[in-house]
């Protein structure tokens, strides 16, 4: 296939691998950077889990090189450092880890291939999107080296606390502005690619579900992020230019009245923030759901159950995700009318989510399932995501939320959606498309070890959080047994922390597998999973320009086990 590679041969190393405009290189750049940030964000949490398991004891191993008299007196994590790590764990996992991996990584690599396009519609904008994300990430990392440490006001950055926090918060806002610019460029690119560059014959209802998921995700990014941009500008003005957009009148800090004009509204930030951050939840989930759908259809060897229903559901879900945001704010005293509206929309949005999950589960019915690595992760996604979703219902109802709000129950709920849910789906995607991107299969034994250890330990972390939440343990507490009522279940924290460290160790298996398989993995054919969608109709790995001839699509995305055919799959490009 090297004669088809002539374009990339003309480019030097820097243009080909660093400042590349090829969607595949950019996708891999996004994915690797995202994975590194995920690991870094998880490391922060593994350090915090020591403080949670053994409050007030010096950190082993890392105390000597993290020792800093202000942040780590005597090697013990100070409350300020705990807050900083907590805020940055959330920020990094959401904005620098999961979204860049799910949208930037998988979206960039797979969407143009699945729609049969030679590249994204705007390759240079695509590169600009990655580099804007990169700069945002560097700014976020740089804030760790400030004298006052990075942002400490949670990933939600609620004012007035965040307005008064140290310089790290300003860096956080500047970093966010770069990340938002990156997602804007990316989402325009995805939408134009999907709308304009579909191959001949690939009508909307012949698109693989993964492309639909990315399509809705791109709309959410395009329309939900700008209000956070506005909020970030307001908060930046508050911090840098001394305005009072989020500063109420008569604020007293440490016994001294604050010298600001006042008259602002802290609740306004919450509205603007959650207007982004609830759709953002679906930005995290939908690409993962798309991956799981591809993997499940492929490994059940039968058509997806209710493909059209799933498409309509995901569109409805995307629309509704814009009108549920204030269910994060039942405790702000916004009134029963508002609460009623938002708890109603929240209950309605569970319907399309349940439809999506049900279709996937019914697809399994009667199938002779191939239990390969991607399928194991995809199957684990289903119950994990279901637990995450169902535990959200009591939080969506204002009455039960009053008790559960700001407890570990909330942490358990959304981590079930994002960690064993979304992250497992992203791992499924890595194991599924790794052979296409590298030309080699990942090691099966290491992969299965990675799966089983991760699956057990990740539940060991998050399942006890529900118990802690019911027991009334508040989130964001530096000393978990500070209040007498939480002393009784302090033992669960030790169990959870050990689970977290085991989970961290299990990821080393993945890292080893990832790099080892590049050299020693079994060579993969162009279509190692006998799949139907267009990305498998390219040479492996796909050359610059992707397809040897412009593909023409003749059928739907999941024609598996069609009666009367010689093979149990009929690729989309077969006439």
């Amino acid at each position: 296939m090297s004669e088809h590679n002539d374009h990339s041969h003309e480019l030097g190393f820097i243009r080909k691998y660093v400042f590349s405009v090829d969607h595949k290189t950019i996708g891999i750049q996004y994915a690797i950077t995202g994975l590194l940030f995920l690991f870094f964000g998880f490391c922060l949490m593994m350090l915090m889990r020591w403080q949670l398991a053994y409050p007030g004891e010096a950190l082993p191993l890392v105390a000597s090189w993290l020792d800093n008299s202000q942040m780590m007196p005597g090697g013990v994590m100070s409350p300020d450092l705990y807050n900083a790590f907590g805020a940055m764990h959330g920020t990094i996992m959401v904005f620098l880890g999961v979204v860049p991996l799910g949208v930037g990584g998988f979206g960039n690599y797979i969407v143009p291939l699945q729609v049969g396009a030679p590249d994204m519609a705007f390759p240079k904008l695509n590169a600009a999107s990655y580099w804007s994300y990169f700069v945002g990430g560097v700014i976020m990392l740089g804030s760790f080296f400030l004298p006052g440490g990075p942002a400490q006001s949670g990933w939600t950055s609620y004012p007035p606390l965040s307005n008064l926090a140290s310089t790290g918060q300003t860096m956080w806002l500047v970093g966010m502005i770069f990340l938002i610019a990156s997602s804007l460029l990316g989402s325009v690119n995805f939408l134009v690619t999907i709308i304009q560059l579909r191959a001949k014959g690939l009508s909307f209802f012949r698109m693989p579900f993964f492309v639909w998921a990315q399509f809705v995700t791109a709309f959410l990014l395009l329309l939900a992020f700008p209000p956070l941009q506005a909020a970030a500008v307001f908060q930046l003005m508050d911090r840098v230019a001394g305005t009072s957009f989020f500063m109420p009148s008569g604020l007293v800090v440490s016994g001294m009245p604050l010298q600001v004009a006042g008259g602002g509204s802290p609740i306004l930030w919450q509205h603007l923030f959650w207007f982004l951050a609830h759709p953002e939840v679906y930005v995290l989930i939908l690409p993962a759901l798309g991956i799981v759908t591809e993997v499940i259809a492929n490994n059940t060897r039968k058509p997806l159950y209710g493909y059209k229903t799933m498409v309509y559901s995901v569109l409805f879900l995307g629309f509704l995700s814009f009108v549920v945001w204030a269910h994060h704010m039942f405790m702000t005293g916004m009134g029963t009318v508002m609460s009623n509206f938002f708890q109603t929309t929240t209950m309605i949005i569970s319907i399309p989510s349940v439809i999506l999950l049900s279709c996937l589960i019914i697809t399994l019915w009667g199938a002779s399932i191939r239990y390969n690595l991607p399928m194991m992760f995809a199957l684990a996604f289903l119950p994990m995501f279901a637990i995450g979703g169902l535990t959200g219902l009591p939080l969506g109802l204002a009455t039960s939320d009053i008790y559960l709000h700001d407890t570990y129950y909330v942490i358990g709920h959304f981590h079930y959606v994002v960690a064993p849910g979304t992250l497992f789906a992203l791992f499924a995607g890595i194991y599924y498309w790794y052979p296409k991107a590298t030309g080699r299969m990942m090691n099966n034994i290491l992969g299965k070890l990675h799966f089983w250890i991760s699956f057990i330990s990740i539940n060991g972390i998050f399942m006890p959080m529900f118990i802690q939440g019911f027991a009334g343990v508040s989130r964001r507490l530096h000393t978990p047994n500070f209040y007498a009522h939480s002393e009784a279940i302090q033992g669960t924290n030790v169990f959870m922390s050990i689970s977290a460290w085991v989970l961290g160790a299990a990821q080393l298996l993945f890292i080893i597998n990832f790099f080892m398989s590049l050299r020693t993995g079994k060579k993969a054919s162009d279509n190692p999973w006998d799949a139907t969608t267009l990305e498998w109709a390219t040479p492996t790995p796909p050359p610059h320009g992707n397809f040897l001839q412009e593909p023409v699509v003749h059928r739907g995305p999941y024609e598996y086990s069609v009666p009367g055919k010689a093979t149990d799959y009929v690729p989309q490009q077969v006439s």
Partner: protein, 199 residues
């Protein structure tokens, strides 16, 4: 490689009827509407929650802002003329009208500068109160958008216009996209002017 061609860069897609860049700029504008929508909503919420909020015309310079409104609307007209000139193959007139658009944009910024310095002179700063906070933030962000538009237009007037010889359709498409953005920035001002200066 022959297949590595991205379609619909200069000819419109047969179904959607637009080129990639035109669809892209519309999506970008949709995103910008959400940005300014959030800014305006915040303005409403802050204003409604503050009984002492002054009426714009009592403290701001309405004649200067009216002048600026005229300048921006005129610049939108010259922007259309520059694109229309390309449609009739008159590159010289394109340069004239594009130059005028840029000058009018700069004129808007100069008037804005006078307005700001006048406010600073009278000790009215963003931190004075939330009225001035909103005034400076919203007009400032709009000003940044005008500045961005001027830079893009300058590029198309100078180095970017080389494309005219190589691919006139593509160049006209780019001017149309830049024009859509310029009209949007104009439209934002049409909302800003009454809601901040006149109410």
């Amino acid at each position: 490689m022959s297949t590595a061609v991205i379609h619909y860069i200069d000819e419109p897609h047969p179904v959607t009827g637009v080129t990639n860049s035109k669809l892209g700029i519309w999506l970008f504008i949709a995103s910008e509407i959400m940005l300014f929508g959030a800014l305006f909503s915040s303005y409403i919420i802050l204003r409604v929650g503050n009984p002492a909020w002054p009426q714009g015309w009592t403290v701001l310079n309405v004649p200067l802002a009216t002048l600026n409104t005229m300048i921006l609307i005129t610049s939108s007209v010259t922007m259309v003329m520059s694109w229309a000139a390309l449609m009739t193959n008159r590159f010289d007139r394109f340069r004239l009208y594009m130059g005028l658009t840029i000058l009018l944009g700069l004129g808007f910024m100069v008037v804005k500068g006078f307005e700001y310095s006048h406010k600073f002179h009278h000790e009215h700063f963003p931190w004075t109160n939330n009225f001035y906070g909103i005034y400076f933030t919203l007009t400032g962000l709009h000003g940044l958008h005008v500045l961005g538009g001027i830079l893009v237009n300058l590029y198309f007037l100078l180095t970017g216009s080389k494309l005219w010889k190589a691919n006139p359709t593509m160049f006209a498409g780019r001017i149309e996209a830049a024009g859509l953005y310029w009209h949007f920035v104009d439209l934002v001002w049409i909302f800003l002017f009454p809601s901040i200066y006149l109410l």
